[in-house]
Symmetry: C2
Subunit: 751 residues, 2 copies
Amino acid sequence: MPHQTRTLIAILGPLLWLAPPSQAQEAPMLGFTSESAEAQRQLEALFDEQMNRDNLREWMQRITSEPFYVGTPHNKENAEWVADLFREWGYDTEIVEYQVLFPKPRIREVEMVAPEYYRALLAEPVLDADATSGVDGRLPTYNAYSADGDVTGELVYVNQGTPDDYEELDRRGIDVRGKIVIARYGGSWRGIKPKVAHEHGALATILYSDPRDDGYFQGDVYPDGPYKMAQGVQRGSVMDMPVYPGDPLTPFVAATADAERMTVEESPTIMKIPVIPLSYSDALPLLRALTGPVAPQAWRGALPITYHLGPGPATVRVHLEFDWNLEPAYNVIARMEGSEYPDEWIIRGNHRDGWAMGAADPASGHVAMMEEARAIGVLARGGQRPKRTIVFTSWDAEEPGLIGSTEWVEHHADELREKAVAYINTDGSGRGFLNIGGSHTLERMANEVARDVEDPQTGVSVWQRTQARRAVSGNAEATTRPDLRISPLGSGSDYTPFLQHLGVASLNVSYGGENRGGSYHSQYDSFDHYTRFGDPGFYYGVTLAKTTGRMTLRLANADVLPMRFANFVDNVSLYVEEVIELLDETRTSTERENELVEMNAYVLAADPTQTYVPPTAKDEVPYLSFASLQNAMREIERSANTLDGEIRRVLESGLTRAQQADVNQVLISTERLMTNDEGLPRRPWFRHQIYAPGFYTGYGVKTLPGIREAIEQRNWEEASEQIELVADMLIRVSDALERAARILEGNEIAQ
Amino acid sequence: MPHQTRTLIAILGPLLWLAPPSQAQEAPMLGFTSESAEAQRQLEALFDEQMNRDNLREWMQRITSEPFYVGTPHNKENAEWVADLFREWGYDTEIVEYQVLFPKPRIREVEMVAPEYYRALLAEPVLDADATSGVDGRLPTYNAYSADGDVTGELVYVNQGTPDDYEELDRRGIDVRGKIVIARYGGSWRGIKPKVAHEHGALATILYSDPRDDGYFQGDVYPDGPYKMAQGVQRGSVMDMPVYPGDPLTPFVAATADAERMTVEESPTIMKIPVIPLSYSDALPLLRALTGPVAPQAWRGALPITYHLGPGPATVRVHLEFDWNLEPAYNVIARMEGSEYPDEWIIRGNHRDGWAMGAADPASGHVAMMEEARAIGVLARGGQRPKRTIVFTSWDAEEPGLIGSTEWVEHHADELREKAVAYINTDGSGRGFLNIGGSHTLERMANEVARDVEDPQTGVSVWQRTQARRAVSGNAEATTRPDLRISPLGSGSDYTPFLQHLGVASLNVSYGGENRGGSYHSQYDSFDHYTRFGDPGFYYGVTLAKTTGRMTLRLANADVLPMRFANFVDNVSLYVEEVIELLDETRTSTERENELVEMNAYVLAADPTQTYVPPTAKDEVPYLSFASLQNAMREIERSANTLDGEIRRVLESGLTRAQQADVNQVLISTERLMTNDEGLPRRPWFRHQIYAPGFYTGYGVKTLPGIREAIEQRNWEEASEQIELVADMLIRVSDALERAARILEGNEIAQ
């Protein structure tokens, strides 16, 4: 029990413990008959008993002792060591190698040449309090997949560099063509910033970490506290992942040694302009030298200056050159064959490569996954082998662009389409509250698991603690909806190729909210930092293993796969309502704005002493028919309820083995049916029709992306087409649910 | 025409000028027959012709050449000079003197004694760019009506020092008893901060100006830009004005030389603990030395530190001693007797005293009022004497607590109750948009005036420009409601004794929104600052004079006083809806919070490693009857519409002189009927039942204050009583409106 729990008990007295201890024994278990639920609970209790926090600590320290980004010796050592451990734990293990494009900088120069000279340090200092901050082989601060270039131009501050930010600049008559933009991190995924800057004609993009976002404004800075100190820099990829992730030279196919490759120049996901990240220590002299209009209030950070937009007089030179080499990426793939359904795979993954010392990202999740794998190995040796095949995956080259997982998924696409039941991902994790995102067919199962795992700080279930947090934050349904809603997934970790390229039902799981800090992708995401501020004692590390371990084992052992379609329908209904409202709101706001343009209100409301360029009237927003989508929703709501009811019935009354096999095959297919072969407009690699990363948000999810982004981009024709595609997709899924129900009713023999 | 207008035309081309030039000639004029409206318009055109921007400049420079706070030689000189000018312009002028308590500091010491030593400078530097920043006799930086004291204690940062802020501190287990609090300016009137700190047991209050609020976060600092530089300090009174304004020793009676006075110790409006303001340069070392929990996000300012709450280790000594002397305050009262209704007074006022160099506050408004008075004098000499008496008032001792106006109002209460038609106030004013607050019986008249005054930068009416700004800010009714809504008045300037003590219909008028800055109550509110950043060229100064001049002249010359009661009812209806909703929301949020307390959610959502004290369950919120209030609203809506209709009718068809005299007497009485003799609970000086400054907001208005504050303070019995009182008051007003309508119908002979 961690120290903090004792503090809490001291404060609260016995009150906390009056809540019922756990509904574990009495609660239903989705997908299990009552007898198999009983056995499963015993298995899970045994699983929990294996958990050893010391393993997590020891493994993290080992993994993070030296830099382990793609292509480093220590990365390869880690792969071999992890593979050896998996073998030792009883897994059929292989290391799968790909040759992936991984540029490393040869020249990094950022200098302000006017109105005064400043040369950016571009370096993170060694700290006595951080043991690995001085190790050899550290990766310099840079953005992978920036273009080469040597450009000089006046500087413009573009806030977070989103399309909306450029509209604000337009209003002030500021054009970034031929200029260099400086954008703070946040608000969108970092790769969006240079992409949008390039679309607007900028020569280069400088990214920086404003202390408002993860520095002193948020809390004490490292090493006194967890937040980013003045010289801390966030590294990261700027590959255009919303187009496709993975090796930029080999979309759709695996980056094997002999794969056919594009050239760097041909690749659409490599940035077309130079990009480099700065610390706020390096950004301050540049921002302070800007004049021009004062930045809008929401754009201002926490530096002790007046934030001006420019352009200039600050004039900056950015000179970057990279070695554009292929590097080996090593995935570790460890299989434990299922005792009953070897061709139904539960895949569990976490990446293993890190930008700098990578303690939180990815080691915190990786060591939890390892402990989970070890425990399952112990159970298997004790005769409790999973019914379905479990595949543990330790991905390489996630940081540059989900490369390890993407290449493997592209490599094994056909087999995975046939066999993959679900993919459960973890990545960085910390102390606090349970976060789950993923496929809503798994929402109920994920909730049941969360109700059965104990929070190490409070003794209540992790479900109850997360519920409390949501309730206190004003989320009304937290106390009324039976299940806590899980988030839809955008991108940012290795579930993307599984979920959004192949249509494999996926979950992404972490703990956090009490481990805030500013070490992300900096040199100070270290063992020292993590064990002080991340998850001291690794209490949440083993809690994560208990959570994802249960998910994996329930998926592996369920009689009927633990999917509940009413949850799916409930969430998709929200998205349908949202896109309908989005069109209406777009229409209303367009009418309103056009009225304001018409009455010259924008001009009259502006300060005449300052440059102001009013917006122009926009095209009218038509009414579109959502009828087919709404009809499809009604149909799938009906079939989902029927199937959920049939599953409940047969788990009580029994089903034949043939029924079981047949119905599970249909269930596995449901997420696949949510994709289409053409993919999304302008990005065919992304095939899921419900979940996608936003084209202009990056990691941020867009649900019903085809419809939603068409409306956002005011492409009414495309929106109409996409409405029909989504309606067709829902009918396909509904048909599958009906078929599954008929199998259980005994009215259909599966093919 | 100012330079900026030309810029605007250059940008926009002729588009701007396509709007109809002005509705002036065709529009109706409330309270005037068509013939008298015609004459009035000619008069107003002549009035406009008198306007001379050079006068405003010259007068401001003279007024602000030396310090002119209460008791200074230059203040007295200004009074005599202003009185001489008024006499020259044809006014019957007197200087009325009161003896008012005005403490000045003898000792001011603020030092941090741990963890390191820092002694606050408490001084604003002389700037080459600001001619008066080095003049002799400047008032030191302090808060008037702070207590004497010499206290030492650990420091606690309390954000803006409002009651809600102390609830946040409670949640973190932080108690300010025996401590010294530091609060940033903003969020409530400054006097609320030490009052609430004292209620919570603090030893002293330090106020400071965070650069987030009016320093570099907002824009370039003085002298490069208008915002507050590091050593700028906001002076100001901390008298407990929501209890009563005016001389603290003579509530309800005039502070004449021979008045009976309380002692300083007896006065309830003098602070009970020491209070002193700091610049952020002086505050930074203190705030930086705090540890303890990190301040909530909304509490953090723009200093380059992590904001901690304390308590300590920063330990601070505050040592303040004052000379508690009476000083003479000189009001200048200038009358021009009305040609037809000498006993109906239109009172127009602006204060004349300033804390430091007082260019914006109050000289900008004062010089506009002077130009207005001069022009009316010219018209009178030309034979166009106003029909009603106009009284121009130049108040002294506003800054310490609305003292000059309050004492005069208390002195002449009986005569004013009988004769005062309306009071029109101005104070600091600048460049930009028209702001009007006041009695809603005057809303229509104020709107008609605004439609007739041209904006000097754009050429459209000031009404249209303000409408544009509201429309662009998302105020939907700006383009649908015939009149722009005027704000209800709280406090902060000299309308308070007229409106809230006596019940004289009042308006407060200014321009602003494009003259932002941080000079308020600092040494740098100077002629140099104002002419660079306030209203360069005094274009808005004469626009203000045109606006309030029209209001004054229309009130002075109208056939039937220009009041429209449908506007009054429309606004009061909103307030009634608001208090009904407030009770419902309080009930809903109480139920919700009690549910969260019950389920232990607050504790479970908190980080167990940090001190957290959960809230306790609150008493249930009963349902209260608003029926009498709702019935009264229905009644007054009917009588208002009848009266408005009758007024329209008689202005078209004619009315007798006796009817005119009688109906105007009733109209004058209506605002008086909105008061009651007992005043508000716990503050009998404040008698208005619709408008009051908030007991815990200071300047911020509380409409229907008796009801609203009772609900906010969860005093359900008092809320019920107040509902009945307000209902009774509305019935009294409604009866008066009915009587006025009957007079116009010829069915009633007035007493």
